[in-house]
Amino acid sequence: MATNQQLVDGSLSLDQQQQSLQFFEQVSFAKLIDYTKSGSNSNGGPPANQATFQDVPFGQQPPPIQLQAAKDDNDAASIMAAQVKAGKTIVFHATVFVGGKETIVIGFR
């Protein structure tokens, strides 16, 4: 299935970014497959993250993406282990901008 990319404002809070990503998943009939820092702020603009979405067949929309921040790598490992134990799938684990600051974030559904 086709993929497309969308910039997300990295100055937003984690909850706000989650809400926006979920919105875009629904209107584009796609699922988030990757989330990384974007270099778009090299021109002095606000920090941004780049979301990569992959189309999903109509009627097969997976559960919405959820985001959780981690304090460090150990905390991230702990979070991921807990989510996997709860039956979730880890979508990404990356350092992205949250509230304008670099933050370790795990995405799962």
Binding site: Q5, S20, T52, G59, N74, A77
Partner: protein
């Protein structure tokens, strides 16, 4: 019970071991052995369906003198044969990029990295193949690379960008092959599109797209993120579910929804075309004004209350 930090450290050790194995030439670590029925080139003295240069030249010669349906058959055969070759080299290239990320980062200081790397990995072995023949006379473009931007791009983001480029062009080629005859879409035009398809899977193309995405729409995207309310999110879920359900009946409400939003709906449109039209609205919902119209149209069409 193992401590999670130990598990994390162990995974890092495994990743390092995989990289070492790959660098030592253990090519079956990052992927299983390629079955002989699809390996390209085929094993010596074997035929496995690989589209060879000889076959291509034979078909190209026949194409020149063919007419009508016969010519279209040859055009499509050459198109899909070359496309398969491009897909094969791209997948190998993708694996190579992924497994050599550390080398990739070191080379980030070199301009024209992407094209040089792509040429080394793909064209070096392809000079005498159909891919080499198709690309003869085509030179890659030089891209001025912002080293800082380049460093920040993960291999995964670049691979996603290349795949997005490729998917877009491939869909266009297939659509044209399916709907246009050789008068309107001759093999010469197909070849041009195939060349674009090949270069869409290179690092300069990936970087160029990422530059374009990063450099535009930042204002509107920021606006979207500030204005995606809980109500908007709830509506998006409802519309997604309603349109998915509408598909079973032939998309009657969805067609009305699209028409209300100014999308031309043809009675002969296939489900795939309807779905593509729906997806095409997504980037426009970035604009708050359009989003209001989007929800209003969904309500008028009976998709939501």
């Amino acid at each position: 019970m193992l401590r999670l930090s130990s598990i994390w450290k162990a995974s890092k050790i495994v990743q390092s071991a995989l990289l070492v194995a790959a660098l030592l030439g253990c090519s079956h670590i990052e992927r299983p052995p390629i079955p002989k029925v699809i390996v390209d080139p085929p094993p010596p003295d074997s035929v496995n369906g690989t589209y060879t240069l000889d076959q291509y030249n034979t078909d190209l010669t026949a194409y020149a003198s063919a007419t009508g349906d016969a010519q279209a058959v040859l055009r499509n055969k050459m198109a899909y044969g070359v496309m398969a070759e491009i897909d094969y080299v791209y997948r190998n290239y993708e694996v190579s990029l992924f497994m050599n990320q550390s080398t990739f980062n070191v080379l980030a200081d070199t301009l024209q990295l992407g094209l040089a790397t792509a040429t080394t990995i793909t064209n070096g072995e392809r000079a005498k193949t159909v891919l080499g023949a198709v690309l003869t006379g085509v030179t890659g473009t030089t891209l001025s690379i912002d080293k800082n931007f380049f460093r920040q791009q993960t291999v995964q983001a670049l691979i996603s960008s290349m795949q997005a480029n490729r998917d877009r062009i491939k869909a266009l080629i297939i659509q044209r092959l399916d709907t246009q005859d050789t008068a309107t879409y001759p093999y010469q035009a197909v070849r041009s599109d195939l060349i674009n398809y090949f270069f869409a899977g290179t690092l300069p193309a990936a970087l160029q797209q990422l530059h374009q995405v990063a450099g535009t729409n930042a204002e509107t995207q920021r606006a979207v993120l500030e204005q995606v309310s809980t109500a908007d999110l709830k509506n998006s879920f409802a519309i997604n579910a309603a349109i998915a359900a509408d598909k079973a009946n032939g998309f009657p409400k969805t067609k009305q929804f699209l028409t209300l939003l100014g999308v031309q709906v043809d009675p002969t449109m296939t489900d795939a075309q309807i779905e593509a039209a729906v997806r095409s609205l997504a980037p426009r919902t970035i604009d708050p004004e359009f989003r209001t119209k989007y929800f209003a149209a969904a309500k008028s069409a009976g998709l939501i209350n």
